[in-house]
């Protein structure tokens, strides 16, 4: 059965710089992958290509047998980067209403307010997002990115900059997504959180997949050890 995501020979250059060289990976539906790697290893580039925000220089990428960036792929994807993609001068409600309109979702105010409450921001729906803390903005960003209930979640270091409360919230949110059978690729720095949430641990190094293990096959300490070795060699 073909995977939800099929990547073969993916390469991405920026002139002389190779961000990705020859990336191969197949992701079946419902799997939760934690993506590790040093800064600049290619995690962000990879996620952006999957989201359709960046075009591959070479190789084949398929999402549900469609091209990334096609409308079909965009319909099933929710992308969350460390920038919130929120309009600071609009309220939370206005931000979501705008996206609901573009996504053809017939959400009335009450439905939108319910979504806002779901991410723990009830009562602050009518404030300009400018007044929110970073953690609150991130939570609203989650509500925005996943407004259309996508089955494939792509997240680029979502835990970075979150406070304790925000981190707990996101962990709970992702665990729930997992039980709902959603597929998830998450780039992450913290191996403890990544290990706890994921089914599969993937390390990208020098533009290729350097390590690809089922979480169950390795302990956290072993994984951290191997990761350290991989990324330390020069």
């Amino acid at each position: 059965m073909p995977g939800l995501i099929e990547v073969n020979g993916l390469a991405k250059y920026f002139g002389r710089l190779s961000a990705l060289r020859d990336l191969r990976i197949t992701v079946p539906q419902g799997q939760f992958i934690a993506l590790f790697g040093r800064n600049g290893a290619g995690k962000t580039t990879f996620l952006r290509i999957l989201a359709g925000l960046s075009r591959p220089s070479a190789g084949i990428v398929k999402i549900h047998s469609s091209e990334p960036g096609s409308q079909r792929a965009r319909r099933v994807i929710g992308y969350l980067s460390h920038n919130s993609a929120l309009y600071l001068d609009l309220t939370a409600l206005e931000n979501l209403r705008f996206y609901a309109r573009l996504l053809d979702l017939s959400f009335g105010n009450s439905a939108l307010e319910e979504r806002i409450a779901r991410v723990g921001l009830a009562g602050r729906a009518r404030e300009p997002v400018r007044n929110y803390s970073r953690g609150m903005q991130q939570r609203l960003a989650i509500a925005r990115a996943f407004l259309h209930d996508p089955s494939l979640l792509l997240m680029d270091e979502p835990f970075t900059g979150l406070d304790q409360e925000g981190t707990e919230f996101l962990k709970g949110y992702l665990n729930e997504a997992r039980t709902q059978g959603k597929t998830c690729l998450m780039a992450i720095h913290d191996p403890v959180i990544g290990y706890a949430l994921a089914d599969r641990l993937v390390v990208i190094e020098k533009g290729v997949v350097a390590l690809d293990l089922a979480r169950q096959s390795i302990s956290l300490d072993e994984f951290q050890g191997r990761y350290r070795t991989l990324t330390e060699e020069r």
Partner: protein, 223 residues
């Protein structure tokens, strides 16, 4: 689809209403241009009225370019453009919504700048106003159809504010030429039938480039 275009427009309009960032700058700049021209031109009454079309449109174009610069610069904050790009819709919709917003902002600025020019240059216009509105409207629309896509190009470069006028002005010259001529025809002759040609050229320009930009917009977007 029309609803989505309207949603994009409404979003930009709402933000502008709250912050007034663009409009203030556009108005101020346009009026300053008028003042500078007052010093630059000879003050005889006849020659002023002849120069007004050119002065007006220079003020409009400079002011409009300021507004265009902001069109996509504001989407770069927080990577808002990324959010828009992830929506499963035809990306040309973003183009149309933004062009509409740019045109409306520019039109508002033009109205105010025009009123100031009436005062500064002691002009009396009454019956000419509907015609002027028509010319301003079509000229502005033509200007923003090209301006929006070029702004999207310029915003991702190293020198975005500088690059936009440099690449925009040569392309938009036909609009400028025809708009100045048409405005001159209205203000200085009463020969409204002569307006047919410039209005046709400007409309053709708008339709041709509006369609072209809509089709090519996806190639230009990136965040």
């Amino acid at each position: 689809m029309l609803g989505k275009i309207w949603a994009v427009f409404r979003k930009d309009f709402l933000i502008e209403l709250r912050t007034k960032d663009s409009l203030n700058a556009m108005l101020f700049f346009g009026i300053v241009v008028l003042v500078i021209f007052n010093f630059a031109l000879a003050p005889t009454r006849d020659s002023i009225r002849e120069a007004v079309p050119g002065v007006l449109w220079v003020a409009f174009v400079f002011s409009g370019t300021l507004g265009l610069n902001r069109m996509f610069a504001s989407e770069k904050d927080n990577s808002c453009l990324q959010g828009l790009l992830m929506v499963p819709m035809d990306r040309g919709i973003i183009y149309l919504g933004k062009t509409l917003a740019a045109a409306v902002f520019m039109f508002i600025a033009e109205a105010v700048i025009f009123v100031f020019s009436l005062v500064f240059f002691n002009l009396t216009v009454w019956s000419e106003i509907p015609w002027l509105i028509l010319v301003f409207f079509i000229g502005t629309l033509g200007f923003t159809t090209v301006g929006t896509i070029l702004s999207a190009i310029a915003v991702n470069t190293r020198m975005r504010e500088v690059l936009l006028p440099l690449i925009l002005f040569p392309v938009v010259l036909p609009i400028l030429v025809n708009a100045v001529e048409a405005t001159g025809i209205i203000l200085n002759t009463a020969d409204y039938s002569a307006l047919k040609l410039p209005l046709t050229v400007m409309s053709t320009f708008t339709i041709v480039f509006g369609t072209l930009a809509y089709l090519l917009f996806d190639f230009v977007l990136e965040d």
